[in-house]
């Protein structure tokens, strides 16, 4: 009798919601309400939206919400793109031949330069509705994230351990089941990490793409970016500060509610079977794990997903070709795909040539190349400078685990913070003290991207094997020798990763950073970024195309000549495994 009562009581306790449910439910409902409120604004008619922006502080939460929603829409689109594009590339040898080089080039193209085109395109697509401008902004963010994510997913799909593949075959999983049970879970940690990093970069683009003027068309969507642009126009430094603070808050919330929980979740899919790796912690995940009702509610969708993942979804049986017939089919597809690709490529090249040559002279090309060269010098000098500053500091932080634990999230956070929000302050300083823009604007290029170097170096120094450090100290390796022989080679792969990201981001940032405004004052440096920005403001399309094309070519060469070989050296010579 008594045992029965105990059983009953324990069942009762289990079914009641607990205090954690309450907190979690509050969070979720607040999120839902925000979502509904925000999305309603996205489809409003386009009644001169620039007049609707106001510098009233009370509007900031709403603007922040709209900015964040744009971000999530873009990440959703990027995820869909990733799953389709990367899967196609990984599964089809013929498609792979083109999809991957295209992705590689897209990764190096400065997307901000194309903003003017996409804005006109999307405005034409949804005439009279805010949706067109929204789509353009979302597309800009999308282009800053999708390539990276697709690349990571593709690489994971190609590197699924062979033994697990064999297990999947011997369990006779259908292609659909194999994709959801093996390939996607395997790709999860990489995809999550890349998504999060891309999203960090995305804040920069969201701010840059909300308020755009292309020639006579001016679009400004309700959001922090537009608020900031208006504050700049009105020379309201207090509003700039308010925008910065709001952005800070938004990123903290994003970091706590999304980034950390997702990384924690992704840890589950890691293949290394040793339990030694330190698990990421997140209070949101802890909160969720302690809730009862919420977990029960979440179990429904989880089960539905499981069920869908177990569909067999087999394609109707294809005609079974004999081996020689199969070879023949592959041959034909080879010829078709290569031939088609070459023709498409030549055609595209001709189109670009015709467009640019109709409007521009060779001298203009010379100018663009020279300006790109200047920007390249700027990028190189600043990466070098950031290296000199942050590598020693990063190493010292990384060697002190307790300090590293605190600094690491901070550096990741700073990398996510859109540096362009801070630009006005720098401009005020440059105008006030009449500084040389060619030198002082340069710092803005690296401002947002230097943190990638810092947190990668910290990560590298933290991972540096303890016994190697002890060996170095027992042989009394000190001073310069210690840096050159011990530490720098040890963190080299991490540094290369960080510097590569930083340099990519810097090229993009140059478009915003070399051409900045404060009210009616325009401060401009000599560089391809300023060239593109000025052409955009003037609505001079051929110049935009030329600028972006020359810059892309430089970036691609820069990557091939500098970063690729460096990564290869890092991979072969200094990887500590």
């Amino acid at each position: 009798m008594s045992s029965r009562f105990v059983a009953f009581a324990s069942i009762g306790r289990k079914t009641l919601p607990n205090q954690y449910d309450l907190i979690a439910a509050a969070l979720i409902f607040a999120g839902l309400i925000a979502l509904i409120h925000g999305t309603r604004g996205m489809v409003l008619p386009l009644e001169a939206p620039q007049s609707t922006i106001s510098l009233d502080y009370a509007n900031l939460p709403y603007y922040a919400l709209r900015t964040a929603l744009r971000m999530f829409a873009a990440i959703g689109a990027s995820l869909i793109f990733t799953f389709l594009y990367a899967t196609w590339a990984a599964k089809s040898r013929h498609a792979e031949r083109f999809l991957i080089p295209i992705l590689d080039i897209l990764q190096s193209v400065p997307i901000l330069g194309f903003l003017s085109f996409t804005v006109t395109f999307f405005l034409g697509l949804f005439p009279g509705s805010t949706l067109g401008a929204e789509c353009a902004a979302i597309f800009a963010i999308f282009t800053s994230q999708a390539w990276n994510m697709a690349f990571s997913f593709y690489q994971s799909l190609r590197n699924v351990p062979e033994e697990l593949e064999e297990v999947a075959s011997s369990l006779m999983l259908s292609p659909w089941q194999r994709f959801w049970q093996l390939e996607t879970p395997y790709a999860m940690p990489g995809l999550i990490w890349n998504t999060m990093m891309s999203m960090s970069g995305g804040w920069f683009f969201v701010v840059a793409s909300e308020a755009i003027s292309v020639g006579n068309t001016t679009v400004s969507l309700p959001g922090i970016g537009s608020y900031l642009a208006l504050a700049i126009d009105h020379k309201r430094i207090d509003a700039v500060v308010a925008a910065i603070l709001t952005m800070l808050l938004v990123i903290i919330i994003y970091d706590q509610l999304l980034f950390r929980p997702l990384v924690t979740f992704g840890g589950r899919f890691r293949v290394e079977l040793s339990g030694g790796e330190q698990e990421e912690r997140s209070w949101v995940v802890l909160l969720f794990r302690r809730t009862r009702w919420l977990r029960a509610i979440a179990a429904g969708p989880a089960q539905l997903f499981q069920r869908v993942a177990l569909w067999r979804l087999e394609l109707p049986v294809r005609t079974n070709l004999s081996p020689s017939g199969h070879r023949m089919k592959e041959r034909i597809l080879d010829v078709l795909s290569i031939g088609g690709g070459i023709i498409a490529g030549l055609w595209a090249l001709w189109l670009v040539y015709r467009y640019v040559s109709a409007h521009l002279t060779l001298a203009e090309l010379g100018v663009a190349v020279w300006l790109t060269f200047l920007t390249m010098l700027r990028v190189i000098a600043l990466i070098a400078l950031a290296t000199l500053v942050w590598v020693p500091i990063g190493v010292l932080i990384g060697l002190n685990p307790r300090l590293a634990e605190k600094i690491q999230p901070l550096a990741q956070f700073l990398a996510a913070f859109p540096a362009n929000v801070l630009f006005p302050i720098a401009v005020v300083a440059i105008v006030r003290f009449s500084l040389n823009p060619d030198i002082w604007l340069s710092f803005l290029i690296i401002f947002g991207t230097q943190w990638y170097i810092l947190f990668n170096v910290v990560g590298g120094a933290t991972a540096f094997p303890h016994d190697l450090r002890e060996a170095a100290s027992s042989f009394k390796v000190r001073g310069l020798d210690w840096w050159v022989m011990v530490m720098l080679p040890g963190i080299f792969p991490y540094y290369v990763t960080g510097a590569l990201t930083a340099s990519g981001g810097s090229w993009n940032a140059s478009i915003v950073a070399e051409y900045v405004k404060w009210g009616n004052d325009t401060v401009q440096a000599h560089g391809i970024g300023a060239y593109i920005a000025a052409a955009t403001a003037a609505g001079d399309y051929p110049k935009i195309v030329l600028g972006v094309a020359v810059m892309s070519v430089f970036v691609i060469f820069f990557n091939r000549i500098l970063w690729r070989p460096l990564s290869r050296i890092a991979e072969r010579r200094t990887r500590l495994s």
């Binding site: 033994e163 064999e166 075959s169 011997s170 006779m172 293949v271 079977l273």
Partner: protein
């Protein structure tokens, strides 16, 4: 009833398999006309050293790989691709790390649309049978190697296969864990508590084969051929120390080291001359082995099982070493024995520099690839050559992987014997630093 018993469950007929060479064409044979059959109620072992194609054969039988020629039939039906009726246990367990033990075991059933409740019941039964009760909700990360392999067994057994295929399932485990798992599995088999009718296992461990199998099929290496078939008629449980057990182990060692027919071959590695595939054996290991053999315990001559026992090695580790010694004429191997040559004894007693000199001389004399590299370097005015030059030459004879491995071994040996220098960054051979 008697008829179905006698009829083979599975038949392999004249199966051939080849490597793909570097240029993508079919290259050297891995399996050469292998035929075998599997009857109900027996455990059959495929025993061979690495390069005998035993794992390839297992993958062909399971339908994971397609042979170049020959057929596999299961109950009279030809096999194309994975089929119901067999289940495989992998060397490294190969569990999905993101699924719990229960979900890992269930997956095969759920994928085949077995009802959720039935799948759960059968999975729980399999987990129970294999001794994993209480670990259902654990994730593979949390389990030891032995426990993981048990999950691998449960996953294979849950689909009620007729034949259980095992690819060296104990070789990744430590000695004690492996022994426990073997005995547990044998107990289940002898007591008939597993739903399976027959087991086919790949192994390179002679004692393991003798301990578990009713029949052992010996595969020769390069290409893999069926060399001999040994019946094991000792009743279970078998005692490793029993004289008949030891005799059988010795006999298999002798069979596996039988001197090859006197054809014009250099040692027992596949290929001739430049195209000889060489195993990755470090010079340190070779020196250590020579010292051990020359030492007071063996006095220059050893019984291979005893040597393997002394060194705690399986044949897969031991044979490449003994064969390298044989190739370099530091030892002779025959009929399960290894005997040092005069040069081998001299090596064991020499100082470091003299050892290197001796090793270099033998390398030049007996390893054609080393001689080729040296002569190319001597002839060229620059005294240097790119690695790719030799790699391409090797790839005419063997697969990419083997070419890499062979060249890596020769680089290691050549550096030790100071025949040439090699720079990893520029991937070039030169004559520079050794003077």
């Amino acid at each position: 009833m008697l008829e179905t018993r006698l009829k083979p469950l599975l038949e392999v007929k004249d199966v051939c398999q080849s490597y793909m060479t570097g240029s993508g064409e079919t290259g050297a044979l891995v399996l050469d006309n292998v035929s075998l059959s599997l009857k109900e109620g027996e455990i059959v072992g495929l025993l061979g050293r690495s390069g005998s194609g035993k794992s390839s054969l297992l993958r062909i039988i399971s339908g994971l790989a397609t042979p170049v020629s020959g057929t596999v039939t299961f109950r009279g039906e030809p096999v194309h691709g994975p089929f119901d009726g067999v289940a495989m246990v992998f060397q490294s367990a190969a569990l999905f790390p993101w699924l719990s033990v229960l979900a890992n075991v269930e997956l095969g059933l759920r994928a085949k649309k077995v009802q959720e409740r039935e799948a759960r019941e059968r999975a729980l039964r399999a987990i129970d049978l294999i001794g994993l009760d209480g670990f259902e909700s654990a994730f593979p990360k949390e389990l030891s190697g032995g426990m993981r392999q048990r999950v691998g067994f449960a996953r294979a057994l849950v689909v009620n296969p007729n034949i259980l295929l095992m690819d060296e399932p104990f070789s990744a485990l430590d000695v004690l864990t492996a022994e426990t798992l073997r005995t547990d599995l044998l107990d289940l088999w002898v007591e008939g508590r597993m739903p399976i009718k027959s087991i086919l296992m790949v192994t390179h461990n002679i004692e393991e084969a003798v301990l578990m199998c009713n029949r052992i099929l010996l595969l020769s290496s390069n290409p893999g051929r069926l060399a001999s078939e040994i019946q094991v008629n000792i009743p279970h449980p078998r005692n490793r120390l029993a004289p008949e057990f030891r005799q059988l182990v010795d006999k298999i060692y002798a069979l596996m080291t039988k001197r090859p027919e006197p054809v014009a071959r250099e040692g027992s590695f596949p290929g001739l001359g430049i195209g000889m595939a060489l195993p990755e054996v470090s010079t340190n290991t070779l020196a250590g082995l020579l010292e051990t053999l020359a030492g007071p315990q063996f006095k220059g001559r050893a019984d291979l099982p005893a040597l393997a026992d002394e060194l705690g090695m399986a044949i897969d580790d031991l044979f490449p070493m003994t064969e390298t010694l044989q190739l370099l004429r530091f030892a002779e191997v025959a009929e399960g024995d290894i005997k040092l040559t005069a040069a081998g004894l001299r090596f064991a007693e020499a100082e470091v520099d003299a050892r290197k000199k001796l090793f270099g001389d033998h390398l030049l004399a007996y390893v054609p690839l080393a001689a080729r590299i040296r002569s190319v370097l001597d002839e060229r005015p620059s005294h240097s050559a790119r690695k790719a030059r030799f790699l391409e030459e090797l790839e005419d004879y063997m697969s990419d992987d083997y070419a890499e491995e062979t060249l890596k071994s020769v680089i290691d040996w050549g550096r030790y014997g100071e025949l040439f220098a090699y720079d990893e960054t520029s991937e070039t051979f030169s004559l520079e630093n050794p003077t």
